[in-house]
């Protein structure tokens, strides 16, 4: 399906790198490295240079912690969105938020995409996307409260649950007025899931692709990779790329990542193996 992310459209077979930009002092991977707005802006410049099509700006870490008010969240992300919009007109700007008020504010500042990692916890977020002309990411969390860790959650079939919840969320977005080509679904690895759930979702990602909605995967350095390989944060790139390859073969469209270059190479290689992308330059044996 052709993707329309706010001001930008992409071909049917395009795969997109969504680079994570944290305006937080405490996110698990970078531990506040881009907390200062100038540092976050430098991170945007870096990932744009690396070829990222999308930046995903977040003002609140996913894990439990100090409560961040709506006003504080807006103050962390809105000005940065406006600054990035002015500097990079052709870049897709996503904001990682579950709050409708924040969604409306960032859309007014130039955001193209609202990445709701918490599965529609705020039912008015779809209205903010529709009114702001933005696309939306519909995730599956199993209904958990934002910023909580999974605790003894079980599913009869986690893939069926992810499909049911994300497509229902997509329908709500559609009903709210978000265009069909601007709705993306995300199984949300680790969110409301144990490691076995995330592995199962990775193995069966093709079933989500078969729904016809474009699929986003957010795999980067997550705990399911760490638990699977018994590796801490900082040593999970190879495992992340292995999971990325499986999702790419299944046909995922958007990859939310810390490491843009490595992920782009992985996705391009798999896309060529799958016959969706020609090799860059082929001459071996063809001279």
């Amino acid at each position: 399906m052709t993707l329309r992310l706010g001001r930008h459209t992409f071909d049917d077979d395009a795969t997109l790198m969504m680079a994570i930009v944290n305006r937080t002092p405490d996110s698990f991977y970078d531990q506040g490295a881009t907390w200062a707005e100038d540092k976050a802006f430098e991170r945007v410049a870096l990932v744009v240079g690396q070829g990222a099509e999308i930046v995903d700006i977040g003002g609140i870490k996913a894990a439990p912690g100090v409560e961040i008010s709506e006003a504080e969240e807006r103050s962390r992300v809105v000005d940065l969105v406006a600054r990035v919009r002015a500097a990079y007109p052709s870049l897709v700007i996503s904001v990682d938020t579950w709050r409708a008020s924040v969604g409306a504010a960032v859309c007014a500042a130039g955001a193209d995409l609202l990445n709701d990692a918490w599965g529609g916890a705020d039912p008015e977020l779809v209205d903010a996307a529709a009114e702001g002309g933005a696309a939306i990411v519909c995730t599956h969390t199993g209904g958990v409260t934002p910023r909580t860790r999974p605790y003894r959650i079980e599913y009869d079939d986690v893939v069926a649950a992810a499909i049911a919840d994300t497509t229902a969320y997509a329908s709500r977005a559609l009903d709210a007025g978000v265009p069909r080509e601007s709705i993306v679904i995300d199984p949300a690895h680790d969110f409301g899931k144990n490691t076995f759930h995330s592995l199962e979702l990775t193995h069966r990602l093709g079933e989500m692709v078969d729904t016809g909605w474009p699929v986003l995967v957010s795999l980067s350095n997550k705990d399911f990779v760490g638990e699977t390989l018994d590796l801490p944060v900082g040593s999970r790139l190879v495992g992340t790329l292995a999971a990325t390859a499986v999702c790419a073969l299944a046909g995922a469209r958007i990859y939310r990542v810390h490491e843009v270059v490595e992920t782009r190479q992985t996705v391009d290689m798999v896309s060529s193996i799958a016959g969706r992308r020609p090799p860059c330059r082929a001459i071996r044996g063809l001279q």
Binding site: P278, C280, A282, I283, L286, Q287
Partner: protein
Amino acid sequence: MTRVVLVPGTLALLPEYAGLEDPVADLRAACLEAAAWLGRSITVLADEQGVRIAEYLLDRTDHMHEEESYLVVGNGSACRTEKAPGHLDERSHAFDEALGASLRGGRPEVDADLARQLWASVGAIAQLRDLGELGPAQVAYDDDPFGVQYWVMRWES
């Protein structure tokens, strides 16, 4: 009048082997320009793979002239460098120089046995002699970008 064009049997010219970047863009342009110069009635002299190259070129070119025409697919040695498909064979340069000179003069002289040793595709080139005196060639391409000697030449006689 008869028009004759020689192009190499480079498989990278075929659309089924296209990448995001074209490694033979200059060669392709020269081949297409030469093929477009041929008349409507065209005889292809080529082996099985060469026929596919010829069909590709002829499908993508218009032929406005009436002259009887021949499209010949062949090339020199594939042993011209260490990285060449057939690795380096020191004899390849002299072989190609002699073959190239005879082609330029319009009377190709082919040492079929040596050609086989040097991975040169000369079967169709040898058939050129059957067309009689071709006269001097116009050379549009003469290079070995991948250790394989390519020529794009045309003759009018």
